[in-house]
Subunit: 470 residues, 2 copies
């Protein structure tokens, strides 16, 4: 049942030829009702709209703004924080028909794309021109550039290339009232007033809808070296990180740690995985370097690791000698996507704690969990070079006391002055804990910005700042 | 003469023990009345205040906010756009007593400093720990981190390490009403709501006063290779850039071009410079690579250049074989600071145009200038890998028709969809031309943000957005 206002809005929407394709009621497809972690009933959705151009996005927002109808932008629906979750009485704005690669400029090392282009599309377009789009994560085939930017996506090579934010040169965005802001900048240096595009990165569609972006490309790596190291403890991991930074410099492209509770469980429990190094060590690190001298880079990489072995920093190491070796080593780290098979149910976390303190944080968190739940079990793995650790917590068989576990974990993150969301965002699922990482003054300024840029509160309301009144 | 309101404010200020050291009238030192490019009479300045802590900055802003007194933050006074220029009836807020290096965290590869620390202080503190603070420019001994961030400073190695913005991990800032916003984040990944620190980078003190920052450090380069190349024309420069990106990858740390009008004039006219390559070529490029393998990097660098020579991309090349060679090559490029001696008077510019079009832009601009002033003379040099070119224009002997020259140059930049300020900022000196690079919609959003964050307009009023009412 729609209210009279909603009925009027729908009549206008369906009669408007300038907003893109509109579906209502039973024609709204099932797939847009949920993202990776959340879902909503079809009744929540007034309409599902798929514009084909920035002008259509603008017309849609103008109409929603006039009628105070909430708008939920949707990309590839692979988000892990509920940022694309439908809200009661909302219009779902899908960018899936805006997926053109508009321009690739080799001299500027930039690519201009519509927001609905997938990460993989952009990676492939760059590769065809001998260039490299460095952002990469498991959902590459489905996740879209608009979603990557809205959530400031990270992934495995942030250490070397930065988050989505660092790969953004220019942006086109539609504001709450339909105003189109176009700055498709291709230049590394451009200091002309406030850098407005930064506002839309990581704000999860609450300040504007991204329609186009200019992304930075890098030279295609000509060599890639990979190794898995076994170490005694986190102190040794920090020594290896310092050693790798010193001797691999800018070539160091990944430094991924697996705690034994992850490594041993995955390699023992997932039949498609090999066990490249024996269990029993205190820490496992996957290290990757990308360079430009295929002949020499491998020898240098092996020397750097041999030095670490000789110095006693590393206890054991296996260096990939082929592409299939590389795939085998990465498969262990990438098993994070499949570990539900061997560690379920659990409550999952994506947090950051400064790299130097991450080892002690992990021990402290384990102790806190076991003090509360004697049977508590955990897995820890992550991008240690970026200060980012992913955590799985299982405190009992069957349904987990999720809220209690979250309170405990986020409380520990707060005490270690960490971040409750390293790379997944806040969405709806973490907003109640945002105060653990941001001060009242910061939250107040966020609300000031939200109120100034979206005074009617129509843009993805209830996301990020949802717990509070605007 | 002060107004009654100003007299009352000064009484309160002088009586307040919590705002830092206060000087008024003749005690205000001459040096704070001008930055590199602008100045103001002493009568403009109500008081010069030097706090020693964030709490003192906060107390000062609270008082100024209550009395609607404009505040002009000042760092090293090396700015080139008039951003620190005193305004009528203002308080000058000098950060020069807040220059502590508070923390250097090798594991996080971060350094936490007060805003008044100089760039060189930070560079040296990092070097002592075997790390590298990558931001670098000529004013390193005087310019401060607060100023570097407020103007989003660039320099010579942006290609490899990014602008000041890309080197910023965490920030503490005092808002217009004295609210202290502290997020001294050390983590590469932290997606917890709006990334507020981005607002204060490049906004030239108009949205808040930076008091502390956490900066990202990189591994100290272990090798540095430098060469000067002579090429036929800009097309060849683009081919060399593509070749260098492909074969030097992340090691490519500078790609600096000098047009012949710069190179020939500087090497002939400045007696302390050698002429490493003969005149008569169409373009000169200084190229630098930083790596981690001192023994092998030089050989690889020379091979990359030999290949470019053999392919006909480069006509002549001189590769530095010693530190004094390197200094000699860089001295030519760095003569930009001294070229007043051989090219004066002139009107100077710092603009960006997408790298692929920069060569044609330069030719078009020369043609436009000569169509208007038959005798127009120019020098062009810059960070071509960053899309950034610096320009000197001399259209006659004696005083230049500055406003007319600016209109012509900025008009050309607008037509080529470039940026009227690549790395210097807008300040007071470029605000009238800001519309050449930013749309009415962008300017409107900037004003919305300014009004929301500084409703009384006390923070560096008239800078950046000064031409317009708030």
């Amino acid at each position: 049942m729609h209210s009279p206002d909603q009925t009027l809005f729908l009549q206008l929407l369906l009669a408007d030829p300038g907003v893109g394709q509109v579906k209502v009621g039973e024609d709204i497809p099932e797939r847009c009702l949920h993202d990776w972690m959340s879902s909503a009933p079809r009744e929540h959705v007034l309409a599902w709209v798929r514009p084909q151009s920035t002008a259509e996005v603008s017309a849609l927002l103008r109409l929603c703004h006039a009628h105070r109808v909430p708008v939920v932008p949707q990309g590839g629906l692979t988000g892990l924080a509920g940022g694309a979750q439908p809200l009661p009485g909302c219009v779902l704005l899908s960018l899936e028909r805006m997926k053109a690669i508009e321009d690739l400029d080799p001299a500027a090392a930039s690519i201009t794309v519509q927001a609905g282009a997938t990460m993989q599309q952009v990676q492939e377009a760059a590769r065809e021109q001998g260039l490299f789009f460095a952002l990469d994560l498991g959902g590459r085939g489905s996740c879209t550039i608009g979603g990557n930017l809205s959530t400031n996506a990270g992934g495995n090579r942030v250490l070397r290339y930065g988050m989505a934010r660092e790969l953004l040169l220019g942006l086109e965005v539609v504001l709450a009232d339909g105003t189109v802001l176009t700055q498709l900048n291709k230049m590394l240096k451009n200091n002309t007033g406030y850098d407005l595009k930064q506002l839309f990165v990581g704000s999860e569609g609450t300040l504007g809808v991204i329609t186009r972006a200019v992304l930075r490309l890098h030279p295609q790596p000509r060599s890639s070296c990979t190794a898995l190291c076994a170490l005694d403890n986190y102190e040794a991991v920090l020594r290896l990180l310092a050693h790798a930074r010193e001797h691999l410099g800018a070539q160091l492209s990944a430094f991924e740690m697996m705690w034994p509770d992850f490594y041993e469980r995955m390699t023992a429990g997932l039949p498609h995985l090999t066990q490249p190094l024996p269990p029993g060590h205190g820490a496992y690190v996957l290290i990757e370097a990308q360079g430009t001298q295929p002949e020499q880079d491998q020898a240098h990489f092996e020397q750097v690791l041999a030095d670490a072995l000789e110095a006693g920093t590393v206890q054991d190491v296996v260096v990939a000698q082929s592409e299939s070796d590389t795939a085998r080593l990465w498969a262990v780290r990438d098993a994070s996507g499949e570990f539900r098979a061997v560690f379920w149910p659990h409550v999952g976390f994506d947090v950051s704690v400064p790299t130097g303190e991450l080892g002690r944080f992990v021990e402290d968190l384990k102790a806190r969990l076991r003090a509360r739940w004697q049977e508590a079990d955990t897995v820890f793995f992550g991008h240690v070079g970026d200060a980012n650790v992913h955590i799985g917590v299982k405190v009992c068989e069957g349904e987990q006391p999720e809220a209690e576990v979250e309170d405990l974990v986020y409380g520990a993150v707060r005490d270690w002055r960490g971040s409750i969301s390293a790379e997944h965002g806040i969405g709806t699922l973490k907003r109640a804990h945002l105060h653990c990482s941001r001060s009242p003054e910061e939250l107040a300024l966020m609300r000031t910005l939200k109120a100034a840029m979206d005074p009617r509160g129509i843009l993805n309301p209830g996301k990020v700042l949802g717990g509070e009144s605007l």
